[in-house]
Amino acid sequence: MATPEIVFANATTSYAEYGGYTALERARAMTPAEATEELMASELRGRGGAFFPTGRKWSFVPSKEQLPKPHYLVVNADESEPGSFKDNEILSRVPHRFIEGCLITAHAVDCAHVFVYIRGEYSGPYEILVNALEEVPKDVLGGVTIVVHRGAGAYICGEETALLESLEGKRGQPRSKPPFPAVSGLYAAPTVVNNVETIATVPPIIAMGGAEYAKLGVPNTRGTRVVSISGNVVNGGNYEIEAGMSMHDIIYGLGGGIPDGRELKAVVPGGSSTVILTKDEVDVGYDFDSLGALHTAMGSAGIVVLDDRCCIVQLGIRFSEFYEHESCGKCTPCREGTRWLTAILRKLEDGRATQADLDLLLDVCDRINGKCLCPLGDSDAIIVASYVAKFRDEFQAHIDEGSCPFGGASSLDHVLAPVAMHTHAPAVPA
């Protein structure tokens, strides 16, 4: 993963090329508690976005004496965060490193049943993973079953409790917590839910030792991170970096900078749901503490680069349309609020808004944030509020000028979102 982008097709590592599951052998020579200790020592934190310490998560699973039920490992491969596409390439290029990670984790949490919940759109990675599983010798699996379960198009299923509901054959709507999955997860049994990248990081940690792994990176963000770079950048793709690398170097070094002689305007640092950074804020370490000081986060490490043609109101519309479309409808503030945010932003963009609408926009953000079972609605509220906070002049210009200051030249002009398709023009006559 350390090499710059390689297009995922035709780059899959076979079982023979991978060279055997030596880290798995090493892990199985340890007790489950010892393997978990290695993860604790590595200070690995979850790569799906929530950044929870992986070893601690594993340690929460009660023993089978304490709770006599089967244990489950569920891998979250429902990668759907706009800007993030790392799990796609990990599954496609190093499926055996991923499978080895599943088997090590299964050993550490004393489980014989692994479910990989992969988003339905990932037909390519699904086929690669299923083929790779067929290559693994039975004795290496050691009695562990790995079932690959395909989603069917729902961002919300990336939220762990919604994922578990979906995997149980229900609508993918989040559960209230507690109980947490470690105690009552899949089929009400103790369950560990980990992201693909987290699982793929387990074999090298076991191979090199947790303490050694923790020498990489910076305090609170140890090791490496696969960042996905996209948008207005020369070399979009996935890059494995050592945590703490400057985001400026990520964008201008690895990413090759902004194409067509344009200027950088803003960066979404960790997938659509993270607080935006202006061009003056990108000289920052890519790690938990450095981004936290700017009130934003690494999230799922999807870095979306936006040049000076991007209208920030339109950016808000397009992401709000996404959250509106993906709201599961369970909690009222999210179901109603995401629709309101889109509508008010659209009014601003069309030049129909007054000063009171800008106040109303922020008021709706407040009425969503922190009032739902899961963070989907919060994400929309937080990012829209951050756009207003950092680009208030641009919002104000839409009101004062009674139209979009980009005058039809924004890079996001007229883009048609799925949620808007039903209002689109009728069929072309035959």
């Binding site: 800007g83 395909r150 198009g153 995997l167 149980e168 979306v304 397009r318 979102a417 398709m421 069929a427």
Partner: protein, 155 residues
């Protein structure tokens, strides 16, 4: 293998008392029939020993399940931000033009359904278009006529 038998094979992967096989079953049924008509939903429900209403409640939650007929080829253009800022709307309009239908619709000859889709997870390789559920990356508007012509040839 009949659809019924294929669904039983999926059920065997999960605990016997669970309903976990409902999504794999719907996927199999859709692959066979193209879309999930009321008759097909009843067939799936019978195979799973649940009610048609339950199966419909699941099918209606997920975007990939088609509850109305679709074209022989499915063209889904990602218009989320990373693809949008590198020209996804122009790619979408090229497909609308070549296929002769607007986004969200099926062409009159039944060949194509064109629609926009939320982030496909290929953001660094935009514009990403899922064609019959396999990704094409870095699609440019001027490539679209040839892509559509190839699809017509496949039919």
């Amino acid at each position: 293998m009949s659809l019924y038998e294929a669904i039983q094979a999926e059920r065997a992967k999960y605990p016997p008392e669970s309903r976990s096989a409902v999504m794999p079953a719907l996927r199999l049924a859709q692959e066979e029939h193209g879309w999930l008509s009321p008759d097909v939903l009843r067939e799936v429900a019978d195979a799973l020993e649940v009610t048609p209403a339950y199966v419909r409640s699941i099918a209606s939650f997920y975007d990939q399940f088609n509850l109305a007929p679709v074209g022989a080829h499915m063209i889904e253009v990602c218009t989320n931000v990373s693809c949008a800022v590198v020209g996804a709307q122009q790619v979408l309009e090229a497909f609308e033009h070549e296929c002769g239908c607007r986004a969200g619709e099926t062409s009159d000859d039944g060949e194509f359904t064109v629609r926009t889709i939320e982030c496909l997870g290929g953001c660094g390789w935009g514009t990403v278009v899922s064609i019959d559920h396999h990704y094409r990356t870095r699609v440019q508007p001027d490539e679209v006529p040839q892509i559509v012509e190839e699809l017509r040839g496949d039919a």
